[in-house]
Symmetry: C2
Subunit: 448 residues, 2 copies
C-alpha cells in the first residue's frame, strides 16, 4: 500500500509532462537523431523519451532489430556472429561519431557481442538495439538513461506486471529528463523479455501511464492515422481526432499505425495519444482521445483486410438447438481457430475465419463441423475481404450504411456480407477478395 | 424392415393422389361443408381429406376447439359442462340436419359429454372437434372415416413417432376416399394427444408424406401466402411460388399462414404444398416447392415482428476470448432464453432476444451477464421490430439490400440493425418497435 501510495504521489507530480516515443525511422541515423532532439527541445514538457532501435535509412536498408535477430540465429547455429554484428556496430559508430558522443560505446558493444557469442537469448540480443539507441540519445540530450529492464516488469506469459506503473512512477523525478529504451522489460528473475515487434509503442504507453503524463506523443514517419490505406487510396486525408474505440476498430479491421496493445495503458487512464510525423514536426497529426464531440457525419476512417474465409452453415431450426453455437465454438477452439465474426439467423449462420489460420486444418475442421453439427450444408463461400467504416456512433446513422452500400453496388461489386449493429462504431462489408481495392476506393468516395 | 417395405409399397401406389386439408373456417357450417365437398369432387385425385374442427362463422363466433377447451376447464373445476357443451352440440346438429346425415351423432355426442364429465383429458376433449367434423364429412362424402388416433403416433414429448408414416401407408388403399380428423394422434398407450393449435396442418403433411401423395393442398380462407402482412400493407400481392426455405424464413420472421412444423414432413419428401382459398376455389393460390427457377429480382415476400429486445455487449477484445460467446450462450440457456439473432465483432456484439421471453427474468439475466462476462458495457438497446426481406438467393443481390435500406432511410426511419449474409435467402433489418408498420410499408414499396 505504501509503495502504491508513493507511486501515485510521484506520478501526480508529472501531470504536465509529455512522453515522446520515437520510432525506428525517426532514429535511423545521426541526422534523424538531431531532428528528434530538436523536436524534444522545442517543448520543455517533453521530459520522457522512449526510443526504438534505428530503423531503415533507405528502402533496402536493414533494421537494427532484424540484424540483431540474425546475430542470435547465427550464434545459436554455432556460426560466427561477428560478420552481422559488425553491421550493427557500424550503425552505432556512425551515430556516436557524428554526434560526438559515445565514449564508452566500444566496450559496451564488445560486451554485447561477447554475450551473444556465449549464448544470450534472442530477447536479450534483440533488445540491445533500443538499449544502445537510448544510451546514445540520453548522452547527446544530456538526459538520464533509464534501463527498461529496471522499471518494466513482465510476467512469464508476456503480460505486464502490475507493479510496473509503481516502478516507473518511483524512478522518475520532476523536472528531470529521461531516455528509456522501448520494446523490452524484464521478468521477476531479471531475464530480458521483449514485446512483440513494434512493442516500443507499449513501452511509451506504460511510461505515460506510470508517470501520469498529460500526453503521449508517438513520433513516426506518417502524419497521423489516415482515413484509408494510402497503398490503395491516393493521398487519403489524415484523421484529426479519433477515439480509442475508433482506433481499436480501425486496427482490428486492418489499419496498422499503432500497436494495439499500447492503447490499453493510456486509454484506461484517459491520457491522449498524439501520432506525429518526425519529418513534418509542425503537422498536428492525429490525436487519440477518450471522447470527442459527436459529428453529424460520424465517419472517421476506413480500414480493410483480405485473407478471410466465409463459412455458411445451414440447418433447419438451428437457432432452436440451444447449444448449436456453443458446439460450433468448441469445434473451432479445439482446432485452434478464432472466429472473427459470426452472424446467425433462424436456419443458417455465417462465421468468418482467417484464411491463413485455417490453412493447414481446413479439411479437419470441415470434417469435424459436418460430423458434430449435423447440418444440412456446411460450405466455404470463398475468400473474402472485409471492409469497415469506422466512426463513433456510425451504426446509428443508417444513411451512411445506405450510402456506402450504394457506392459498392453502383461500382458493380458483389457484397456477400453487410453488418450494421454489432458495433456502435463500425459498419462491416464483405466483398470478394479480388475486389478489395476497388471496394475500398468506392467506399472512400463516400468519406472524402 | 418388412413393415417398412410394406409401407413404401403401398405409398408408391398413391403417387397420383392429392391430400386436401380444410381449415376451420372452411368447415364452419353446413354451407361451407357443401363448398368443401364440391371442391373435393371437382378433382378425382382428391382422395385424402383432413379436416379441422368447425371454426368461426362470423367475427364474434366461437371456434369449436375453444368451446371444447372451455368444457374441459369447467369440468376440471367441478362445474357443470352441459351449458358449454350444448353450444358444441348445436353446431354439429346444424351441420348434420342440413346435410341430412349423422344418424349416430346424438349417441356419440352423449358419449363425449359423458367422458368429459368423468374427467377426460384436455387433449381428448379438444380433439373431439376434428373427430366429429371428420365423421360427418366422411358420411356426407361417402368416404371412409379413419381415426387419426389409429394412424398418427406421437411420442410423450409431442414429436411424431417414426412408425406413423408406415401406419398411414398401410391403412389407406388405392382408389378409395378417406376423411381423417386433423390436430391429434395418440401415444403408444392409446392416449389422445393433440398438436399445438393449428396442428391440423401437420396431420395433412403427415398423411401426404405417409401416402407419398403428389400434392398437399391446404385449403384456408386466404388466397395463398401474401407478400406482406395485409393488416399493415393494403392489398398485398399473393405469392405465386415459394420454396420451403423461403416459407420457413417468412414464418420465422413473423408471417403466419402455415404451421411451421408442417413443412418438414413434406419438404423432406419434396411433396409440393398448395395453399388455396375455399372462398375462391379457382384462384391458384401459392405453391410451395423444393426448388424454383431463379429470379433476376429474387424478392419473394416480406415479414416482420415486433417484440424483440436488442442487447449490446461491449468488451475490449471480446472476440479474442475463446469462450466468450459460449459463456454468453450458457448464461442465456440457464435463464431459459433462446437467442434469436447474434452478430459479433471485435469488441462488441449484439444479441436479439424475445421481449416476452425475458420479461420476468430480465434483471436476473442482466445480472448474470454482467457478473460472468465481465464486459465493460451490457445494455439493452430498447425494443425493436425485425423485418426481413425473403427470397431465394436474395443475399447475393446487394442491390436489393441497398434499395431496401434506402427505402427505410428515405422514410426517415432509424435502422438499428442490418444483416445481409447470415442467410442466403433473407435480409434482416431492425427498427424501433413503434416504427414497425411504417417500415414494413416502406419496404413493401420496393417489392411492389
Amino acid at each position: 500500500m505504501l509503495l502504491n501510495h508513493g507511486g501515485l504521489k510521484r506520478r501526480s507530480r508529472l501531470m504536465n509532462s509529455i512522453v515522446c516515443k520515437f520510432g525506428g525511422t525517426s532514429v535511423a541515423d545521426s541526422e534523424k537523431i538531431k531532428e528528434v532532439v530538436s523536436i524534444i527541445r522545442s517543448d520543455s514538457r517533453r521530459k520522457l523519451v522512449v526510443v526504438s532501435a534505428p530503423g531503415k535509412r533507405f528502402k533496402e536498408d536493414e533494421k537494427i532489430t532484424d540484424l540483431l535477430y540474425k546475430c542470435h540465429e547465427e550464434g545459436s547455429r554455432g556460426k560466427p556472429v561477428s560478420g552481422v554484428f559488425s553491421l550493427v556496430k557500424e550503425r552505432y559508430n556512425e551515430i556516436s561519431e557524428n554526434l560526438g558522443i559515445g565514449s564508452k560505446l566500444r566496450e559496451i558493444l564488445e560486451e554485447i557481442e561477447e554475450n551473444i557469442k556465449s549464448g544470450a537469448t534472442a530477447d536479450y540480443t534483440a533488445s540491445r538495439g533500443e538499449f544502445l539507441c537510448a544510451l546514445l540519445l540520453a548522452e547527446y540530450l544530456g538526459a538520464e538513461f533509464v534501463d527498461a529492464a529496471d522499471i518494466i516488469k513482465l510476467n512469464e506469459n508476456g503480460t505486464v506486471d502490475k507493479n510496473t506503473y509503481n516502478l516507473i512512477g518511483e524512478r522518475v523525478e520532476k523536472d528531470k529528463s529521461y531516455v528509456i529504451p522501448g520494446f523490452y522489460g524484464s521478468t521477476s528473475d531479471g531475464e530480458i523479455k521483449v514485446f512483440s515487434r513494434g512493442g516500443s509503442d507499449i513501452t511509451g504507453a506504460l511510461v505515460a501511464r506510470g508517470t501520469n503524463a498529460s500526453l503521449y506523443e508517438n513520433w513516426t514517419d506518417v502524419s497521423g492515422i489516415l482515413t484509408a490505406d494510402p497503398r490503395v487510396v491516393q493521398n487519403p486525408i489524415p484523421i484529426d481526432r479519433v477515439t480509442y474505440r475508433e482506433l481499436r476498430e480501425l486496427a482490428y479491421l486492418g489499419a496498422s499505425v499503432f500497436h494495439e496493445e499500447a492503447i490499453f495503458p493510456v486509454s484506461e487512464a484517459g491520457i491522449p495519444i498524439n501520432i506525429r510525423n518526425t519529418n513534418y514536426p509542425d503537422h498536428p497529426g492525429t490525436t487519440i482521445v477518450k471522447e470527442r464531440e459527436v459529428s453529424p457525419f460520424p465517419f472517421t476512417g476506413l480500414a480493410g483486410k483480405t485473407g478471410f474465409s466465409l463459412f455458411y452453415i445451414e440447418k433447419l431450426l438451428l437457432n432452436r438447438e440451444e447449444d448449436f453455437i456453443s458446439r460450433l465454438f468448441s469445434i473451432l477452439r479445439e482446432n485452434k481457430v478464432n472466429p472473427r465474426y459470426i452472424q446467425s439467423g433462424c436456419d443458417s449462420l455465417i462465421v468468418v475465419l482467417g484464411t491463413e489460420e485455417i490453412k493447414d486444418r481446413e479439411n479437419n475442421l470441415l470434417k469435424a463441423l459436418k460430423e458434430r453439427l449435423k447440418a444440412e450444408h456446411i460450405k466455404k463461400m470463398g475468400s473474402v475481404a472485409l471492409l469497415g467504416a469506422v466512426g463513433e456512433g456510425i451504426s446509428k446513422k443508417p444513411e451512411i450504411t445506405s450510402r456506402l452500400l450504394n457506392a459498392l453496388v453502383d461500382s458493380g461489386l458483389s457484397v456477400s456480407l453487410v453488418e450494421q449493429g454489432s458495433s456502435e462504431n463500425s459498419i462491416l462489408f464483405g466483398v470478394k477478395e479480388e475486389d478489395y481495392e476497388k471496394s475500398l476506393k468506392a467506399l472512400y468516395k463516400v468519406l472524402a
